[in-house]
Subunit: 160 residues, 2 copies
């Protein structure tokens, strides 16, 4: 049984452990996940960060972090979707993505924006976002580092 | 005499007053300026926000807010440049822009990114950024609101 719900205080260890074991995040990025989670625990509304967890038959399988884009009325940011290595290729990331779409639409928002990297390690992520109906809105050369571009994906939730 | 330096604690009133009197910022945006300034006062390094003030013959004429882009090695964000109405058209914004360029280069960064709006109120700002050598890297439809696009300007600081 697959269950998606708001992440609980006690699940910080799980999300940090998953973030490390997927082998894509740098130390700095794992620290950012931690920092955003602390904001979420303090107050999800003020921090602007929301976490959803996904459990499969009770086991912690993955999480998504998203939140309303600062100063925007229509956009939400999808910061990360992360699925434990042993739970990959079972459609869990897609379920988390659809759950974020639902939350965004319920909040009256009409699009999701995803900032990601052009590095080979993120190719799987980029292909995933395209499969979920996102389009590459722009790519900005050397944004993160030399040879590491910013890729901005957009998912439009409803017809304009 | 024109003097640009790090903003002081006691200058919060000046920056909020200017941010209101330029007539472009919404209440929410003025609140954001305030919030970022509180982070800066607490710790500019941790907050990631840096403020520069510009005084003309001792009078507070304007300020710039900038900071290293999260998770990037090469980019800085220029959040706002704001010049008091009575000091406009005297090249103060350009001096502040050049000062941010200098700070960014000193920090080993090679580009500045500016996120702004496509709304008519920001046309002056967009023209200013273009005049300073920025290029429109992308425009994302309805990002802030229906009919209010995100415009991303980039300024490359050195030859790649």
């Amino acid at each position: 049984m697959l269950e998606i719900k708001a992440l609980l205080v006690g699940e910080l260890e799980e999300i940090l452990s998953i973030s490390q074991n997927v082998g894509v995040f740098s130390k700095e990025e794992v620290a950012t996940v931690d920092e955003l989670f602390q904001g979420y625990l303090k107050d999800p509304v003020i921090s602007g960060y929301n976490y959803l967890s996904c459990r499969l038959n009770g086991a912690f399988a993955g999480y998504a972090c998203w939140g309303p884009t600062a100063l925007s009325k229509g956009t939400v940011d999808l910061y990360w979707i992360c699925v434990d290595k042993s739970f990959q290729n079972q459609g869990i990331a897609a379920e988390l993505f659809r759950a974020v779409e639902k939350k965004a639409a319920e909040a009256g928002r009409w699009q999701i924006v995803i900032w990601t990297s052009s590095k080979p390690e993120y190719e799987q992520a980029r292909r995933f976002y395209q499969k979920m109906g996102c389009v590459l809105a722009t790519q900005i050369t050397d944004f993160y580092d030399r040879g590491d571009d910013l890729c901005v994906y957009m998912r439009i939730l409803e017809k304009r």
